[in-house]
Symmetry: C2
Subunit: 472 residues, 2 copies
């Protein structure tokens, strides 16, 4: 899940174009739209689904950590996926390979307070971090309560220091706090490097108080030499803050030895439910197969694969849809969205009717948002009506969010988002704690029901679903 | 906290002698006992205490991990304690040193599934574990759902195998599930070694589902060579169980390199509130200063030091008590209760009126249990009456529980236990997650109020508090 990172960093990201009054404040009655009884029946059947859990359990148990960046485990996971998707009855199941140019790989990662309160701290290197010497780097820290405080420092003022940015994150249902708090990770290291810092540690971008640090990528501008950059667990960051507040200078020793290991082969796994109308466009759904290697990637994103695959299977088993449904298990999302970029390149010549991804955990879907052309406005109304019994509200934002579908969406394809609740997501996001037990089977089934409903409506919509104009 | 371990292992442990009908089922009215207004006022003042939190915060921040077994950090913590206790106004503040004969020290600890589902698992060596070769030990596992299943195996049947005992623990308010589930740790390795196992891994003795393994000691019989013995995190044990249930043989590679490092100096920190009556006996209270090194030992047991010290200070500040109150910050509890044993040896010639320890976290005290001589029966009644407004029930078991006070208690000293709720305790007990944020300041203050009440009553009791007869 890196949507808000991208929104912050990429000018090509979709803007909130069609803003209206928030739905929650509207007192007008929704349009009276009948729900197709076949859709309703399929939705309710999906509430008994076990396929999504089986995929989530299988990937986290039989494969485990699926290291981002072309790992061997990802290759095993692709083979596992091909076998699973074929066994479920999908057509055109295949791996589409691609080459990652120069892969960043985690190394040793340790930290300790050297003075005045010697003790070990827990952290993890951020993706694209530079390395310390193998024997470590010891330096005094400079504390910043927020990224803004770091940004206010004069250039060169941090020479020989380790910047410590410790902004705290609060949970939000829509995940928007990831954008505001996450900036410390997304751009903090680049800013610290420009100001001369020897290294940077941040408080993990997470809503827990645990010892498992939250991994994630950062990015340095071209021409900026990457400095060592790591996330302390929230508990360790809180401890370090308390030390700072005692008033004595605090020095840290960091040992981070990530390195670039050259090109690696990787790939996307693709499966289809062939439609009857080749000209109606593909309905693209999926999630990502790779994970950060600290956990087993249950909520990020085995469950997303489970949800979208289970929904596609339910629609497939109900009869051939009008549009082809294409399920993609994208590779190497975490380290830079490579699978999605490669998919868009490889399939640039095909017509996509819509694109949707599930990459925000496995808690219940609470909102649907769309970006549909005027010709398909009725699709959105039918979606809202059919999803309402699942407790899903219609949002007023613009659909089409996600790192993997982003490159397709940006070509003008319609987007439909089924937003999971983010209230627990950042407790374990990118941590060692992202394991199967975090997935609530009942909430997972609600997800499958929402996605099944969406696919049944969109893949069979009689309207043309053409390009969407987006604000630049 | 190792009480139930000791109850299981040591025949000298106090038996449940004075069992009566559980208080909860009794419909008889409690004795009408007036609460001394001075005691009530002190109890209510204690609900505003900040000293306990300051000690807990200080130890976890300025010292951090206080490695059990004569570590340098423990030495720093003793010096910190002496300064703190003097600053609080205690008298006779001192360190009483002792020598640990041959200290067990944690080394490398890694594990991976080699086949059929290669992936990294998280574990920690149990105290007194043997070592694998430095290059690791690879062997097939044999799964046991319970310790009983392991015990049923014929001798020699586990040669060349790694035993995997995976019993699950449920939370209990009184912590009794630690005794039943904990046996897998306390005696499982010894049993597996006798049956020829190359090593043993257990599911952590904990009530969470996290990735932080739960440390703790195990013990091998004289003549049994220690085998490598480790606790998988609960999430990893659950994952390994799922692999086992898929039916293929599972092999693990373990690398555990703990070693014995010879004798080490360590010590207890002692402080006193001198009483007016030298012959009335010492009221002994305290907790332990060392911690497992995975966390910072906030609930185990910095908070116990904070609670007992804060209570002693409140009573001290209210005027000199009849009996001397002695606060002991015991050393090296976790690795074998050495501080408590050394204290009992060093103070064998002194009269103790009572002994109590706080070593079960910082959640609210829910029960008081006593073992008092008949001559001091009124003390128990007054305690029950004065503690009731704090929501504390009078239990029907025998007081005097705890590793550190055990050696004193077993000489016939009266025991008074203020039992904290164990419902959350084993979520983080002995894990990396035992950090300051787990301490709820409000519940901590309720503890201080309970201990203040107890000390005010017991230290000033006009009755003689003489020896207690205990069942062998």
């Amino acid at each position: 899940m890196k949507r808000l990172a991208l929104m912050l960093l990429a000018s090509a990201a979709p803007a909130a174009a069609q803003q209206a009054a928030p739905a929650a404040r509207s007192r007008t009655a929704p349009p009276a739209v009948a729900v197709d009884p076949k859709v309703a029946a399929l939705r309710d059947k999906a509430l008994g689904d076990d396929v999504a859990y089986a995929i989530t359990e299988g990937l986290t148990t039989e494969i485990g950590q699926r290291g981002t960046g072309g790992s061997d485990a990802q290759a095993r996971a692709r083979d596992w996926g091909v076998a699973k998707l074929k066994a479920l009855g999908f057509r055109n199941v295949r791996i589409e390979t691609y080459t990652l140019p120069d892969v960043w790989q985690r190394g040793v990662e340790t930290a300790e307070v050297v003075a005045p309160y010697p003790q070990v701290l827990r952290l993890t290197a951020l993706g694209n971090s530079g390395a310390t010497p193998a024997t470590g780097l010891t330096a005094p820290i400079v504390y910043f309560a927020s990224l803004g405080d770091l940004m206010a420092m004069p250039d060169g003022s941090l020479t020989g220091r380790i910047a410590f940015v410790s902004n705290a994150m609060q949970p939000t249902q829509d995940g928007s706090s990831y954008g505001s708090s996450g900036a410390a990770r997304f751009v903090g290291p680049n800013i610290a490097a420009k100001k001369g810092a020897a290294a940077i540690v941040i408080r993990s971008i997470g809503t827990d108080h645990g010892r498992g640090p939250h991994a994630g990528t950062t990015n340095f501008d071209a021409g900026v030499t990457p400095i060592p950059a790591a996330a302390l667990s929230v508990a360790d960051a809180e401890n370090l803050e308390r030390m700072v507040k005692l008033g004595k200078p605090v020095s840290l020793k960091l040992t981070l030895t990530p390195r670039l290991i050259g090109p690696r082969q990787s790939g996307n796994v693709i499966a289809e439910v062939p439609g009857t109308d080749k000209d109606a466009g593909i309905v693209l759904v999926g999630g990502h197969l790779d994970s950060w290697e600290l956990g087993t990637g249950a909520i990020d994103d085995a469950s997303g694969l489970g949800i979208t695959t289970a929904a596609a299977k339910l629609v497939m088993d109900a009869g051939r849809p009008r549009r082809t449904i294409r399920v993609v298990w994208f590779g190497d999302e975490e380290i830079g969205g490579f699978g999605g970029q490669e998919y868009a390149k490889a399939h640039a010549g095909e017509r996509h009717a819509s694109a949707s991804e599930s990459d925000f955990g496995a808690d219940r879907v609470w909102r649907v948002e769309t970006a549909l052309p005027d010709s398909a406005r009725g699709v959105g109304d039918r979606l809202a009506a059919a999803l309402a019994p699942l407790g899903i509200v219609r949002g007023s934002g613009v659909g089409g969010d996600g790192t993997d579908i982003g490159p397709v969406i940006r070509t003008g394809v319609a987007g439909i988002d089924l937003n999971q609740s983010g209230l627990r997501y950042f407790d374990v996001h990118h941590t060692p704690e992202d394991t199967l037990d975090r997935v609530d089977p009942e909430q997972l089934r609600q997800n499958v029901a929402a996605w099944t409903t969406m696919l049944a409506i969109v893949a069979n919509a009689p309207e043309d679903i053409g390009p969407v104009a987006r604000q630049p």
